[in-house]
């Protein structure tokens, strides 16, 4: 076999492999999106049609306007009875998720940067202990501390507030952010700051004016981690939220899926809608993300 055929054969197989992987990765998500516009009866046929025969937006319409899909109406009965009323709360829950995740992301950036820079550049007493303490705090399974967390939040009078979730998610995400950004800052040469410091800048000024612009990709990656972790968290969300004022997407979707009046089409609508914000974030950030990580894990 001549080298050229061998190379193109190689390329063909690699492309094939990539195609299989792409199908594996997005297949489930595309399936949910399709299911969300399919009729329940069609969804349960054997074998299923992958492409719906009669696509319908009735379920979306129900979620946003409250108009009950005709397929659920029962003649001679009050119509709202056979459909998950909780499904109508999806937009509100996703809004809650988004607000909490965004706040956690922002606070992580500010305090995470401040702390990580100190760990990366300065010497002070108790540094290693504090650093390891931050990281070690994540070692214990969260289940063991769920009740004490509830007690703390309740004592602070924060039950069923955004602030309770934000605080708890900060505790979960900050150790990772600090660890990650410390490694990242370690990878940035100190020469520029030294010059600035000698010119009379304070540490804080050096951080803001010199280091931050250079660290942008790392910050983006850290932000994405914090956002995703908060957006997806379930255990504490279910304990600390009590009403739709604060219930997040995962809490609501899990609640809908546990009820006898749920249908797979409706659950699919919930999942599909919930996917939109993180997908936008992932698509926008993916460039910086790769770049940001590259610098961080050089382990200087």
């Amino acid at each position: 076999m001549n080298p050229k055929t061998k190379e193109s054969l190689n390329k063909f197989f690699l492309n094939l492999l990539a195609l299989i992987l792409i199908i594996f990765i997005v297949g489930p998500l595309i399936w949910v999106a399709i299911a969300s516009i399919q009729g329940e009866g069609e969804l349960l046929s054997k074998p299923q049609r992958i492409f719906p025969e009669n696509p319908t937006l009735a379920n979306y319409n129900y979620v946003f306007t409250g108009k009950i899909p005709t397929s659920v109406e029962v003649k001679g009965q009050l119509v709202r009875s056979r459909i998950s009323q909780e499904a109508r709360l999806i937009p509100a829950a996703l809004k809650n998720s988004f607000i909490v995740a965004t706040a956690v992301m922002g606070i992580n950036l500010i305090f995470g940067t401040l702390g990580a820079y100190t760990f990366s550049r300065l010497r002070f007493r108790g540094k290693i202990v504090t650093f390891n303490f931050f990281l070690g705090s994540r070692l214990i399974p969260v289940i063991a501390v769920a009740i004490p967390y509830y007690v703390i939040i309740q004592t602070m009078g924060l039950l069923d507030t955004y602030l309770s979730l934000i605080l708890v998610y900060l505790v979960i995400t900050l150790p990772f952010t600090i660890w990650f950004l410390t490694l990242y800052f370690n990878g940035i040469p100190e020469d520029f700051e030294d010059a600035a410091l000698i010119d009379g800048c304070s540490r804080f000024q050096a951080l803001v004016r010199i280091v931050l612009p250079m660290a942008l990709p790392g910050l983006v990656a850290a932000a994405a981690f914090a956002f995703m972790a908060s957006y997806n968290e379930f255990l504490f969300a279910k304990f600390l939220t009590q009403s739709i004022a604060t219930q997040t997407g995962p809490v609501l979707i899990a609640a809908i899926a546990g009820n006898p009046d749920a249908s797979y089409t409706l659950i699919s609508v919930a999942i599909t809608l919930g996917l939109i914000p993180p997908i936008i974030l992932a698509l926008v950030l993916h460039r910086w993300l790769t770049e940001g990580l590259s610098t961080s894990i050089t382990f200087r």
Binding site: E40, S71, T155, K238, A257, G258, P260
Partner: protein, 458 residues
């Protein structure tokens, strides 16, 4: 090294500082008994104009209807304000336990028969009959299983939200196709019909059960299969809650053996071991199975038009077995000592609330009837079976006579004790092992009995 010393001294100091700060801030430890929160009752006369605000916690089902009922209640009782909170059904028990343990009980909430002993023994719930003896007036109209499910140590702890039976359900159309015109009377019938259904290629696995380890109702389905085979009480435990099921030939032994053999003969869907309620209903709608056992309220969803080719052909048959008995269970409105702590005005509202939701208003079970008519939920208030609205609504998805007959034969779960929940979680895997043939049915039963006794002595 002195450096190390300094570091550790700093650490200890920091820890002490923070710990003392926290202690000073007074974060109550979880062990702080809720009794601490006793406040002086507010002077009733001055406060009369101010509405009392009571938290009411539910699992998230039919939230719009609940809120609407609350609004109606508040219109009728302007002095009472009800603040609705909710958790998902699958997490409700665990979340409430966390909340009780953290010392934050809501005054009003949903309760269930299988948690009553646990919550009652912990002092998390308050007796209703103790505070409001008038609740006893409802006893006569209640199905015995429901009354029993709301009774702990001879006190009434609830007014029924809904009550239901665990029913044997069959697909009439498929059964007729296989040449049978009436439902199975015994488990031998179920076996024979299943063989016929399978041989004729109508359903590959004629029976499916929701036996996933996460499924809270699996124990109820299991017990209903045992009750149907057993006459009278003592199917699982005697009056002193000692196990009676762990010998060959008991109804429990027969029930598990039957499942094991049906699993081997491929009549019982292996996927049952991972199936929960939602998938069970969907699988039946898909026509993949002919027989199943489920809580009755699912019937309305099963027979929902447009839900599949078989809508309308799902019927309830009396539980197979000599006695046709089954499990009846009840979910109810309950109150906690928190209501009493909030003072007499709150207590007054609490009773009005409980009676409005679980009792009669203007001589009618308004709210209970609404759940039955609109959502197809069952009820424990037997006179409602005579109600024409209820009969019409239930007639949409079932045969009212069979429903009433099965309700009459329903019994509460035996062995309702504070440790029932722990035992239930243990038994799920043990029953799986017998069905999968990993251990003998007797081993499973003995393990279940041993673990029960171990829990009982703790």
């Amino acid at each position: 090294m002195s450096k190390v010393n300094q570091r550790s001294i700093f650490l200890v100091f920091a820890l002490l500082l923070i710990a003392s700060l926290i202690v000073a801030c007074g974060a109550p430890a979880a062990e702080a008994p809720p009794a601490e929160e006793v406040e002086e009752p507010p002077p009733a006369e001055e406060e009369a104009a101010e509405p009392v605000s009571l938290d009411f916690v539910v699992w998230a089902y039919g939230l719009d209807v609940i809120q609407d009922n609350i609004n109606n209640f508040q219109t009728a009782n302007p002095n009472c304000e009800i603040n609705l909170q909710n958790y998902g059904w699958l997490d409700y028990h665990d979340t409430m336990v966390g909340r009780f343990a953290a010392g934050d009980p809501p005054p009003l909430l949903y309760g269930s028969d299988h948690w009553l002993q646990e919550w009652g023994s912990a002092g998390w719930l308050d007796s209703i009959s103790d505070n409001f003896p008038q609740v006893l007036d409802y006893d006569d109209e209640l199905a015995p299983y429901a009354l029993q499910g709301m009774t702990y140590e001879d006190e009434i702890y609830g007014l029924s939200y809904y009550a239901d039976t665990i029913d044997f359900v069959y697909n009439e159309e498929q059964l007729a196709e296989a040449g049978f015109d009436s439902p199975p009377e015994s488990w031998q019938d179920v076996w024979d019909m299943s063989v016929a259904l399978k041989e004729q290629g109508i359903t590959d696995y004629p029976l499916i059960l929701a036996f996933s380890q996460e499924e809270g109702a699996s124990i109820e389905a299991m017990i209903s299969m045992i009750y149907g085979r057993h006459q009278g009480s003592g199917a699982l435990f005697d009056e002193n809650n000692n196990p009676t099921f762990n010998s060959e030939g008991t109804a429990a032994y027969e029930a598990i053996e039957w499942l094991r053999e049906a699993y081997e003969a491929e009549l019982f869907d292996p996927a049952s071991l991972t199936t929960a309620e939602l998938d069970q209903v969907a699988s039946m709608q898909a026509g993949a199975h002919t027989f199943t056992i489920l809580p009755q309220y699912n019937m309305a969803a099963l027979n929902l038009p447009d839900s599949g080719d078989y809508a309308g052909s799902f019927m309830i048959g009396l539980m197979p077995g000599d006695s046709h008995a089954t499990v009846g269970y009840v979910r109810f409105y309950a109150m906690t000592p928190e209501a009493e702590n909030m003072g007499p005005a709150a207590m007054d509202c609490a009773w009005k609330f409980l009676e409005y939701f679980g009792g009669k208003t203007d001589n009618e079970y308004t709210v209970v009837k609404r759940w039955a008519v609109e959502n197809g939920l069952g009820f424990a208030q037997l006179p409602l079976f005579e109600d024409p609205d209820v009969q019409e609504a239930f007639g949409q998805w079932g045969d009212v006579d069979v429903i009433a007959a099965q309700a009459e034969l329903a019994r509460a779960k035996e062995g309702l004790t504070p440790w029932f929940g722990t035992w239930d979680v243990f038994t799920r895997a043990e029953i799986h092992k017998a069905i999968l043939g990993q251990q003998s049915t007797m081993d499973t039963l003995n393990n279940m009995a041993d673990y029960w006794n171990e829990l009982a002595t703790q």
